[in-house]
Symmetry: C2
Subunit: 157 residues, 2 copies
DNA sequence: TCCAGATGGTCAACGAGGTTGAACATCTTC
DNA sequence: GAAGATGTTCAACCTCGTTGACCATCTGGA
């Protein structure tokens, strides 16, 4: 549902949906142009989550707002593509922490590079301060709705 | 993909995704509480599109950024639920324009009421001017990317 | 110490909601 | 008037999520 606002201005919900799609599509378009052809939108969540330290499947699931099963499938896909690996022998024997492979780190670098360019292009339209204000206000209102922390996202689409 | 920004601030793409989900989930939660239990997120696109005049299936598809087949299925679902009807005997005999039923108008009213409340609540956190600025900047940057008009959204999720 | 319950992970079956491909009716144009 | 374009729908399929069941491992209290 993306209703219009009272005054006939486009609803924020609709604008968010369009903005998300636009950024994601552009990011993946440029990734594809660079040869990264097997990257799914949801990969980004995992890449970032395991960027600095390994993460468990359950942790990923709660981060993304999906079930453990869905997160497990996603990890499996990324393992097959060679972006992450499952560890064995963690302190807690039930866990199978996930970490980046060298290829995964390469992809992460490409993603960060491209995404920075995209936000840069936005800054050229609404100005860098406008961009920062938008980010700050969004963080404020979204964490307010979830007592202080950013809620999970479902990487649907 | 929703990478982090250079400085470690949350990526706009992620914030948009969270914001969209939040608004949509809250809207549907309140709709459900009022007894509207068979409303799917994508219904909103159709409700608004046919608000003032009928729309064709093809028009709805291009508005939402999906195939005509998907739009046709969506319309069929809404017909079954009693929110819209297909017209017959349009000027162009191929078309079967879709318009709101009384029940559909009722739902539209409820949606607009609730959605206005939600944006109102946002305004209480970031201020009405902040909300308007966010909307204005989003419209600016999004229509800039699509030569002047707001691009379609895929109502996935 | 040991067992009941909680937690991490995966397999299997299923469902929602999109896509592609094909068919058919109607319009448009030369 | 016939050839192609356009509007709509049917059918088959695919992706990616869910629920339900199951197993392995950890943890806490009797």
């Amino acid at each position: 549902m993306t209703p219009a606002s009272p005054a006939g201005e486009p609803a924020l919900a609709r604008l968010f949906a369009i903005g998300y799609r636009l950024l994601i599509d552009q990011l993946h378009g440029r990734l594809r142009a660079l040869g990264w052809t097997d990257v799914r939108p949801a990969f980004g969540f995992v890449l970032l989550a395991v960027r600095d330290q390994p993460a468990t499947v359950t942790g990923l699931a709660s981060l993304m707002g999906t079930t453990k099963q869905a997160a497990s499938k996603l990890v499996e896909t990324m393992v097959v593509s060679g972006y992450v690996e499952r560890e064995t022998g963690a302190r807690d024997g039930r866990q199978r922490p996930v970490h980046l492979t060298p290829r995964g780190k390469e992809l992460l670098r490409a993603v960060e590079q491209i995404y920075a360019e995209l936000e840069q292009e936005w800054a050229q339209v609404i100005g860098a301060p406008g961009l920062q204000r938008m980010r700050r206000d969004l963080v404020r209102v979204l964490s307010d709705a979830d007592d202080g922390a950013l809620p999970p996202v479902r990487p649907v689409w």
